[in-house]
Symmetry: C7
Subunit: 98 residues, 7 copies
């Protein structure tokens, strides 16, 4: 069973286990501001511009992305035992590269 | 008796029975954030762009869609014994595929 | 005496008597969310687009329409013994067809 | 002494005496929602569009118009013994015709 | 010493003495809604449109104008013994003509 | 050490000493509404329009400008013993000329 | 491990040690308004305009920039022992040059 996001939305699987990785990015523990790392599972077809054209998203499936905990509208789904979130690409801060 | 939605609105029948399906998406029970699954019963002609053109909707009749509980303006109607909601396509998170 | 609505506004006569029709749409009784059914009595010439063109409305006189109780700016007038409301077409959810 | 309204503003003289006319529109007495009937005394040259063109107003001097009590910015002036208001055309609900 | 307003702003000298003129406009005394009459002392070059063009203002130096007491951002300066205000042209209701 | 403002921002040095000049503009002392006089130290390259073009600012280095005390986002820096502020050109009321 | 910002976002390393430099900019200590100095570590590809074109950012890697403490959405990451922030270029006040 898959979720195919609409417009400029993306489906993301949270990667909480990375929040304590010592050598790389260490995400702080305070609940109010913690950024969240995730993997992109699916991307929408793009944002519809005012002239009717569709603007492709910058992220692609497999990208590791950063996003604010409360940014956007989150949808929490249990897919097996992982959390899945749906949000707009504009809620993503950036792509994390190794 | 049918509802023909205007502009970019869609008519949706809630599928609450799926909220406890074990093998697929299990929707949590907390009232504040639970996403809602539904089936599209009717779609509007599309969103009128600033230049006067009409942008067709991405969803079609029969699609299973996800949407936030409090997103958009909901209209609850009893059509027989099912709940019917009317909201904008932009309130839809994505299409659920088998 | 008639009201000729301006721009994208419509004049609507409430059809409260239909709220208890058994075979069709049964509107719930809770005051906060009840949708309202009405008949379009008059429509404005259309919405002026940014480029100066006028976009005709999708509803026409005689349409049965659904709208939220608190959506838009309502003007309640007593025309004989019926209630009359004036609101924007964008406050209408959809057209109800038999 | 005259007021020449700017852009899309109109000058309106309230017609309170009509609020109790039996045969026509009877405006309710509750202060919060009562629509107000008035006569257009002067209209601005029109609304400046984004492309620099001027969009003429739909109302003209002499029109009887309906408007919400608290819509727009009202300016109350005493011109002789009548009340005069200045508001934007968009605050007008419609034109009342006999 | 002069103030040259930027963009669509105007410099206005309040004409409080006219607020009690018997034959013409009599402005009421309640502080919350009293309109203010003033004379335009200087006008900006115009509003920059989205396409980069400049839209000239409709008022000119010498015009008597009406404006709401709390509309816009007011700057009160003492120029000799008169009050001077700076606001946007959109805060002006209209031009008063004799 | 210099600050080069971005886009439509300007760097301004406050000229508090002028607030009591007898012959010219006398700025009142009440904290809530006092306009502030300053000298432009640096201007950004201009505002980026929607079509990608850059709109040059109307103020230039050396201009004496008026601005509201709380308008815009102010950045207070001590450069030597003078206060320096960074704000958008749109927060400026006008240019003061001798 | 790197963060590649999306659209018009930038990654910035805070330079708190400069807040007490005597000869240059001395940033005040009050928590509510203190501007923050930082070094740009990475910049996004640019802001997508309404016509679909991408507007390059004005800042580049290595620039020293000023930004308000609470402007934009900040993401605090520990990269080694330095703080890293992600914000939009529009939250930057200007570039500090030696």
């Amino acid at each position: 069973m898959n979720i195919r996001p609409l417009h400029d939305r993306v489906v993301i699987r949270r990667m909480e286990e990375e929040r304590k990785s010592a050598g790389g990015i260490v995400l702080p523990d305070s609940a109010t501001e913690k950024p969240i790392l995730g993997e992109v599972l699916a991307v929408g077809p793009g944002k519809m511009l005012d002239n009717g054209e569709v603007r492709k998203l910058q992220v692609k499936v497999g990208d590791k992305v950063l996003f604010g905990k409360y940014a956007g509208t989150e949808v929490k789904l249990a897919l097996g035992d992982k959390e899945v979130l749906v949000m707009r690409e504009d809620d993503l801060m950036g792509i994390v590269e190794d």
